[in-house]
Symmetry: D2
């Protein structure tokens, strides 16, 4: 059984992760883990912080000479801007007059107001620092270790962007073969297979930034070479669909998730869906696909 | 902390549920629990089994004189057709020539083939009996106890059908006030607020049955009077969105789930969505809504 | 991962157990499970209830044709005296004048007083019914399934009584070979290898019953053919010593537990203990032993 | 619900701990946590490493301005001798000729042999580094946070040494009042209330060191001002006795644990024990006591 737990505030000293349950002897390619952290940071339109910082993992336990030991893998991702935040996020008590950069005007759609009510604090920073999307950096690192583990069975996981706001990749770039998805440049800033759509997506992001707006999107995630029978149907909290949905929807900005034909299946009847799945499988070589909205 | 576990095969002697962690002194209205079990069975177009059986809960522990004891609530839901299945699902060894009703032709889209591969059995019944949707009856009973618990805080949970296949309720029947959703007749066979659409939905279901087809759908679930701050942002596996998504997607036929504007949010930018949420809130009295596709 | 949960009050309708995680295809010998339940009941000096009742398991799920299915094993142990308790332990509300056999005089050393304080009840029966030692019957059944599972690897678990109160088996009957322990008649009422000591133990139990007293004891439990490396040193809550101690000390009357030389080791230095362990191993064929006080 | 997980090898870069579930607003006295780490190191007869190193906690998350945030508390305990071990314990691959200080001669009574067999390694260091008692330093820090939490309810936890090997404190120094135990100098190297016995214990430890032997011992741990009803009788894995036993017995050198009269109770009958508990309670002011062998 794998256990994974993270700690760390957005502007704290570091993020911490502990991943327990990996078998001993698994090769740990730190460059692969760091590449995933980099991918998280280069998305087109990300904030300035992403540009000044470059996240890197510091493995503190569970790995020796490039291989796992079977003991818990511990790691840190340091805050490279910590010297500018040390006073604001200090664990130790501070003097009265210190600059605490207290957040007293709660942002709508964030944890600020309910969190301040729940945790009895006047400074919403006490809660928003943990609710921040930066927490997902520790998940990316933990997930990268899991990808290395899955890779030892030949399982590969990939993703691409299907839509940003109302700009959508063309049909010929959405029902892709697995190889085409896995082959997209990992450092692509938008990660859309349709170059023309990608340009339109960039423009949309630029204009949203100019107007202080945000923009939604749609990504597809696939897993290849998954053996039949992975998952467990015997209890409500072991089913794979549910566990994948939990993982995706616990990402702060993720508000919908579908497996396979998902949303489309709700509007339709079973026979055409089954035919379409069969048609795509024969064309793309994918017999199983998971799409997360 | 609540723990909930179920056991039981579709045509076995009974389903079993254990719900642990309810506080002592909670009033247990068995009629309410049985009403939820009944609601599960009366959906328009359900199979014949639903008509001959009437599920009822048999509480075996954790409740005394109509109130919880603080100890685990144990319950059974009996298979009313057990005498016809006793030989086929016997826990004891049976004689060689017995009618085992072995399933050797796996159904597509079901657990039959991967399950038989995984569990090394020639009779897919060994796996399909647990993978059956009947397992959700135990969840409905467990969920009904949780509704009684939530009800003690004034929280109410309700749902209605927005679409069956391509038949969709009119706009004026989809963005409903909370009271309108909670007020729908619990024994309505389709549970759609739009009477005209409901008739079209019934026809669609009838024709799907005639052609041996199935038909998808879209339901909305709401929770009212939820206090601000419910949920937990501090760890990836505690977040409420993720846990709700896990619960919904672990239902065999559920293939997509959204929270709030969900799928719609992916196609759009943030400001219009925020305005729309605000507009609906002021019109319907709902400040928070959760929609599960 | 195995999960095990039980429910049920001492005089309720039945005890319920769910054991999840056993692999598919394990042979289930119900007679073996029932033999363990019988062993629990025949201990010399047990109360009258033990004599009138004979506990038997009723498997309700997870087993078909004498083999596990991989789905949760659900079982019941019925209260054979239920008709005499139905009114007192009814889950449904009862009429005012009913005989509730309320317990309002708390017994020292039991959960009665702290439980009544904690759960806000005037009738200690609301808590003592679950705190009763009868709850261990469900554990015995669950443990019997686990023994069947361990047995498929050739692992055997056995026990014998070393002392009852100040009556102790002779030295030649305490450091027994594994085979001698496993060979004790499973239906022995005291389960002591020293026949003379057993007679003295019976007399001690008889006199304690006459004076309304109770009497302690000391048992040794062994596991044979355990492969090296079973257990897990990598996290505080996975270590086998701790998990065994938890299981033993959660039995209401168990107040001390030791592994190997345990208590004796505290009074001594390491070298003599190591020599003694080595000496016993060469004499008894046991290279590993666990003793639970 | 509290969750606690640790990571870290004995000679690795640092130990890591994550403690999740502490409420927000709890005062965090780092000096108190460091005092507990110091107490762990000053025990009479500890190895040389204890003298050159001084463990200190470095809080990396979950605490701001001296108070918990409600988010996971993350902390590190650095290896102050890391520069001498960096090559031996490097997470990165190393060149062939490196000094790996491989351990190929397994020590009896340690994880070395079963661990090497289980994890398929020729260098027992791969397993013994995690199985080391140093891992308990992270538990001491986590436990210190929990003591601060318990302290906010007025609950205090204390301990003293009753015996080292066959040297035992006098009776008048073993059945102590709670205040006497809590009042022992936290930096006492033996922590025995009987000064004369303490001198004999030191001599015994000295002579064991000279002969390359080790020596056992017996400690008593008490918790004061515990409210009635703490703990949970409703499920086998929630009972407090079991959870305390698990925590104690998961400490590598702990091989026996008792609650209250424990071992003594096994040799006796119930009435004298009840009278003795009552007599001690009236003399010492302790109505509840827990002793861990």
């Amino acid at each position: 059984m794998l256990r994974f737990i993270t700690a760390g505030e957005s502007h704290g000293k570091c993020l911490t992760g502990v991943l327990e349950g990996l078998p001993a002897g698994l090769g740990v390619d730190q460059d692969f883990v760091n590449l995933q952290l980099q991918r998280r940071q280069i998305g087109y339109g990300r904030g300035g912080r992403m540009r000044i910082e470059k996240d890197e993992i510091e493995i503190t336990s569970g790995v020796r000479f490039g291989r796992t030991l079977g003991s818990p893998v511990g790691f840190l991702i340091r805050n490279r801007d910590w010297q500018n935040w040390e006073g604001i996020m200090s664990a130790a008590p501070v003097t009265e007059g210190a600059d605490k950069r207290a957040v007293t005007r709660p942002r709508p759609g964030h944890v600020d107001l309910p969190g301040a009510l729940k945790y009895h604090t006047y400074d919403a920073r006490d809660v928003l620092e943990r609710a921040s999307a930066r927490e997902t950096a520790a998940r990316v690192a933990g997930g990268a270790f899991c990808q290395l583990f899955l890779g030892s069975f030949g399982i590969r996981v990939g993703s691409h962007v299907i839509a940003i706001g109302n700009e959508r990749a063309g049909d010929e770039h959405t029902n892709l073969e697995a190889g085409a998805i896995l082959g997209i440049d990992p450092l692509s800033p938008v990660r859309c297979a349709d170059a023309a759509a990608e340009e339109r997506m960039k423009s949309l992001i630029d204009s949203a930034k100019q107007t202080g707006d945000t923009v939604g999107g749609l990504i597809e995630v696939i897993a290849c070479s998954v053996p039949p029978g992975l998952g467990n149907h015997t209890q409500w909290d072991r089913r794979l669909d549910g566990r994948l949905a939990q993982a995706m929807m616990s990402i702060p900005a993720a508000k919908a998730v579908e497996i396979g034909q998902g949303v489309e299946g709700g509007d339709s009847t079973g026979l055409p869906i089954a035919q379409e799945v069969s048609r795509r499988a024969s064309r793309t070589g994918r017999t199983c696909e998971s799409g997360f909205t």
